[in-house]
């Protein structure tokens, strides 16, 4: 199977590099971004299967980036990362159309489980028949509309 590409967006170098370390050890191709601007540029330049987005970035709120990413990279699965104290933000991000969220400090097993689960969902969607794809897009659009 083709290697899956993941984008990690967080302003903290320790978070970026620890997540990269774990994901690369499982064979994923990983790129990182420190700001929302860098994340958008990288997402325009290539397709990522999944993006891990910190909810608090120096140049933009993570939920705002999430909305922009929906239009730049609609196929990319988006997982929000947030601290325990901001659980409400995590719930809000689901309302904004995130596919999942993870709480810091991130549990390694939970990270891998979430990534694998979301990539499996994406793979299943890609393997669908035309009718199924139409239905899937309809559902996805409804979800995105609700989030706007």
């Amino acid at each position: 199977m083709e290697q899956r590409a993941i984008l990690i967006v967080d302003d903290d170098v320790i978070i970026r590099e620890t997540l990269r370390d774990v994901l690369e050890s499982k064979g994923y191709v990983v790129e990182t971004a420190e700001t929302a601007k860098e994340a958008m540029e990288k997402s325009k330049a290539r397709t990522f299967n999944l993006a891990l987005l910190d909810i608090k970035l120096p140049d933009m709120e993570g939920t705002e980036l999430l909305k922009k990413m929906h239009s730049i990279a609609p196929r990319t699965m988006k997982v929000m990362i947030t601290a325990y104290g901001t659980l409400k933000n995590a719930m809000d991000s689901l309302n904004f159309g995130a596919d999942a969220y993870l709480l810091k400090p991130i549990d390694q097993n939970q990270l891998l489980k979430t990534v694998e689960e979301k990539l499996r969902e994406q793979y299943t969607a890609e393997a669908m028949s035309e009718d199924e794809v139409a239905e899937w897009i309809k559902t996805r659009l409804q979800k995105l509309k609700k989030s706007q």
């Binding site: 320790i14 978070i15 620890t18 991130i106 549990d107 390694q108 990270l111």
Partner: protein, 125 residues
Amino acid sequence: MESSTPSKGRECELTQRILKLWERYKPLCLERLSVIEEARTAASSTALDDELRGKAESAAHKLAGVLGSIGLPEGSKIASEIEALLQPGDTIAPGQLLRLSELVTNLRSQLTRGPTAHDDSSEML
């Protein structure tokens, strides 16, 4: 037992990875702790201004988010409590100041000790 070998191997690999990450990021964590210690000292002499308080709160927030990632889950909890005490707004009460001081000392001990191989929360990232 044979069945425990892959699990032990995985655990060992994980421990090695965490220790490597800790060595790499220990200086940055200590730098963040220094900002918090500076704020504690300033608060003790009622000289804690909003700027330093904000920097220390941000440092505590970052430590809370990462220490569990590098084998120090207890450090994450302590940093999270420090962050709550440094929230902008009210003056830090004497009782809170005492607690802040205690927490900062505990955090320093955690960072000096570093992660251990037997830390049962070492799968926190």
